[in-house]
């Protein structure tokens, strides 16, 4: 028994050793954790990255789904893991929303993270049934003329889509009725059926319908016109100067990542992001492939947390 135990000691040490010898990072499998269901957008992006990073890092990168409470279950988990670079998290725009929306989170949305890079960015489109409104200006005019007459369907209370609608109301002074649905698809059905007048959602929900002539896209929420849809005016240039909402996917890791590990991961992500294949795959999901530095990602998240906090306060949305 004792002998067995003694033999076990060096083995245990040998297993523990690599954690310290970070020069050889990575020397075992890595994980990309995300907080959404398998098969969704976050999962797909994680898998695209994992597949290529496995090639580049020479160790398997595994995708792990820990869904729950708008992704915050996964964030609570990842921020508690060792900052050794073996655990990364795929973050989405909802991370900034959660930071503003939840009363008590089991993690610090900014301070508990080493941010690595954005992967893709995408705007939201504002759409109405074809022929209902000539332009976004006409829509806002109608809303101002008769407060409470225009109903916006959104994909759930506290979703970025919902908060974008609230922000539009704040910035233009229009008074909308915001109606929650179970996801963007259900809201889109309600728009088609005539139950709501407007939806604000991603290109994947809206653009197929617009191409078929069912919807008119009135505006895009990004600060500048979106390269894929150059004819669509921005909210900023029409009804609310300075309006800028984009969502994004990004990679982060627990705070306190050693510099060399952070450098290795950042370089690898930059390499993958430059690949044509990856760019095509991310674009297929309706996003613009876009890498960044960790500092840029951190600034983006901090800016968005500030905006959403203000929206939630002013619109008096219940914090949870």
């Amino acid at each position: 028994m004792l002998r067995t135990l003694l033999t076990a000691v060096p083995i245990t040490l040998a297993l523990a050793l690599p954690t310290f010898a970070q020069d050889s990072f990575p020397d075992r499998s890595l994980r990309i954790v995300h907080g959404f269901g398998p098969g969704g957008n976050a999962d797909t992006v994680s898998r695209i990255m994992a597949e290529q990073m496995t090639q580049g890092l020479g160790e398997p990168v595994v995708v792990e789904s820990r869904p729950g409470a708008g992704g915050t279950v996964a964030s609570g988990y990842v921020s508690g893991e060792d900052p050794d670079g073996y655990t990364m998290q795929l973050l989405v725009g909802g991370h900034a929303v959660a930071a503003a929306l939840y009363n008590s989170l089991p993690f610090e949305p900014v301070d508990d993270y080493t941010f690595l890079s954005t992967l893709g960015q995408f705007p939201f489109f504002i759409a109405a049934r074809s022929g209902e409104y000539a332009s976004i200006d006409a829509l806002i005019e109608a809303a101002l003329a008769e407060p409470g007459s225009i109903v916006i369907g959104h994909s759930g209370v506290g979703s970025t889509q919902h908060l974008t609608g609230e922000l539009l109301a704040l910035e233009t002074g229009a008074d909308f009725i915001h109606v929650p649905y179970q996801g963007g698809a259900a809201a889109s059905t309600a728009l088609m059926g005539g139950e709501v007048d407007l939806i604000i959602d991603t290109g994947t929900v809206i653009r197929g319908q617009a191409e078929a002539g069912v919807y008119d896209i009135l505006a895009v929420t990004s600060a500048d016109r979106w390269p894929d849809a150059p004819d669509v005016p921005t909210v900023s240039e029409t009804v609310a100067d300075g309006f800028d909402v984009i969502s994004w996917t990004a990679l982060g890791a627990p705070a306190g990542l050693p510099e060399n590990v952070e450098a290795t991961l950042s370089a690898e992500i930059a390499r993958v992001m430059a690949m044509d294949e990856v760019q095509t795959q991310i674009a297929a999901l309706g996003a613009r492939p876009q890498g960044s530095t960790g500092a840029e990602l951190k600034a983006l998240i901090e800016r968005q947390i500030a905006v959403w906090t203000e929206v939630i306060d002013t619109a008096e949305i219940e914090r949870r």
Partner: protein, 502 residues
């Protein structure tokens, strides 16, 4: 329509595409048999594979998994009272008693045949009436859904075999469990004791616990451990002429109900099968036979859930709008192939559109052909002594439940619901109405509150909109009919009494 369908058939009958249809339905069938592991898990695991396939093959395979799992779901329900998918919960109600009476083969045959007919009727409606069905579905707004669910909840109290009061109490328990999680209208957390509850209790946990786990506890607690008699002769598998004749109506009604509910985004196969069962029971001349191994009570919901899983593709294919989470994944596969799903799919991608629809036709035939010979094999499963079978089943349930949301809490909850289910059973409370309340409760609340938001608290909207008014009328008629038949029964009991007194 027929011409395009034939073109679709020519697409799907190419060997390199047929193989994916075959693979899809086989995987779906197997996944459906395994308790707790649903089509959604299988499809999300296979999604990366579709990176390497063209859009048509991907769609055909993923869709095959979806409706194949509906076939498979009935097998464990009938043999072990273990619903493989939430929509096969209703299959347990009469399917399991038939098997307990020693006619498991017959039950499996009836299930497979009803599924086949239901599936085929669903496909026919998809071919002939996809566009009109789409228009009807789009006219279902929040007020219509709210009224439809009220009708459904009323029907729910008919599902149980015992007293209606007890059933109704169980519906309320289900509604209460459905409240847990974030309130969809305000985002406020209700009964969220820990973050794991934020998204509510999982339907799979509840179904597996109340049916599967409680049945295992029940069997383990029994003194008498003799296995039910098993007959595996072909003669015992085929229904008698009288039995066959009694199934025509239920299968046709079940298929119609299923086709209708399937086409409404957001309701789906589970509600369709409950509605089909409740309808059969309500209009049966022998409602007391339901729940004790009555074949129409098995045939109706089986045909309904398979019809629904076919017409469920109507909003997905004609509008590009996914009706449920599985459809969302299938649409995801299309997007990855560079096809943006929308109303133009039928025009821009006719080969894909009609190929997929034709593959349902072929897939249903494949499923029937593989299921009939397999019946004898499945029945042999019952020869395994129960004490050797149940540890395996428990492990499979745990794996299945865990795979849904990778949550240990869900597994613990499943076992807790198992104990609750056992206690309920020993006090003659039935689990099926709990499940229906659980599914329909949140649907009613969301749609009612949505209606109030949109129409600014005006109750009259329920009577002003035509479809909602008709549904309201049906509900009122059903209530009046119940009152009338109760009074009539009472009179009947009193009349002979009065005669004697004279």
């Amino acid at each position: 329509m027929i011409e395009q369908f034939l073109m679709g058939l020519s697409v799907v009958l190419q060997p390199e595409i047929l193989i994916y249809a075959f693979a899809g339905v086989i995987i779906g069938q197997l996944i459906g048999v395994l308790p707790g592991i649903g089509a959604i898990t299988a499809i999300s695991l296979l999604l990366p594979v579709t990176f390497y396939l063209d859009a048509t093959s991907s769609m055909i395979m993923l869709a095959g998994i979806y409706y194949g799992s509906q076939y498979g779901g009935s097998i464990a329900s009938i043999l072990l009272n273990l619903p493989g998918t939430p929509s096969s919960v209703v299959t347990c109600l009469d399917g399991y008693p038939v098997a307990q009476n020693g006619r498991a083969g017959l039950a499996l045959f009836v299930a497979a045949f009803s599924s086949f007919v239901g599936g085929m009727i669903g496909v026919s409606i998809l071919v002939l009436a996809a566009i009109p069905m789409t228009h009807i579905a789009l006219r279902f707004g929040a007020p219509e859904y709210a009224m439809l669910v009220v009708l459904g909840l009323l029907a729910a109290s008919l599902v149980g075999t015992g007293s209606q009061l007890r059933s109704f109490a169980m519906v309320l328990v289900g509604i209460a469990l459905g409240i847990v999680g974030a309130d969809a209208t305000t985002g406020f957390y209700r009964y969220v004791a820990m973050p794991e509850f934020a998204d509510g209790i999982s339907l799979v946990s509840l179904a597996m616990g109340l049916f599967g786990v409680s049945e295992i506890i029940n069997n383990a607690a029994k003194r008498d451990r003799t296995a039910p008699k098993i007959k595996v002769n072909m003669r015992d598998i085929i229904p008698t002429r009288a039995e066959a004749r009694s199934l025509g109506g239920p299968i046709l009604r079940g298929s119609s109900i299923g086709s209708f509910f399937g086409a409404l985004p957001g309701t789906g196969a589970a509600i369709a099968s409950f509605m089909a069962y409740a309808t059969e029971k309500r209009f049966s001349r022998t409602p007391e036979k339901f729940g004790k191994g009555h074949l129409p009570g098995l045939a109706a919901p089986e045909s309904a859930n398979n019809a629904a899983s076919q017409t469920g593709f109507i909003p997905t294919l004609t509008l590009g709008i996914p009706g449920d989470a599985v459809m969302a994944l299938i649409i995801g596969a299309l997007i990855l192939n560079g096809i943006i799903p929308g109303p133009r799919l039928m025009v821009d991608q006719p080969m894909l559109f009609w190929g997929v629809i034709a593959s349902f036709f072929v897939g249903n035939i494949i499923l029937l052909l593989i299921n009939i010979p397999l019946i004898r094999l499945w029945v042999l499963l019952l020869r395994i002594p129960y004490q050797k079978l149940y540890p395996v089943i428990i492990v499979m349930i745990c794996v299945g439940v865990y795979s849904h949301r990778t949550s240990v809490t869900d597994v613990v909850l499943t076992l807790a619901f198992g104990i609750l289910g056992y206690l309920m059973k020993s006090h003659r409370f039935e689990p099926a109405p709990v499940l229906l309340g659980f599914v329909l409760g949140p649907l009613l609340e969301d749609n009612f509150r949505r209606t109030m938001l949109i129409y600014r608290g005006d109750f009259m909207v329920f009577l002003e909109r035509p479809i909602s008014a008709v549904l309201f009328g049906c509900t009122a008629t059903l209530i009046l009919f119940s009152i009338y038949s109760t009074i009539k029964k009472h009179r009947h009991r009193e009349t002979p009494h009065a005669v004697k007194q004279r």
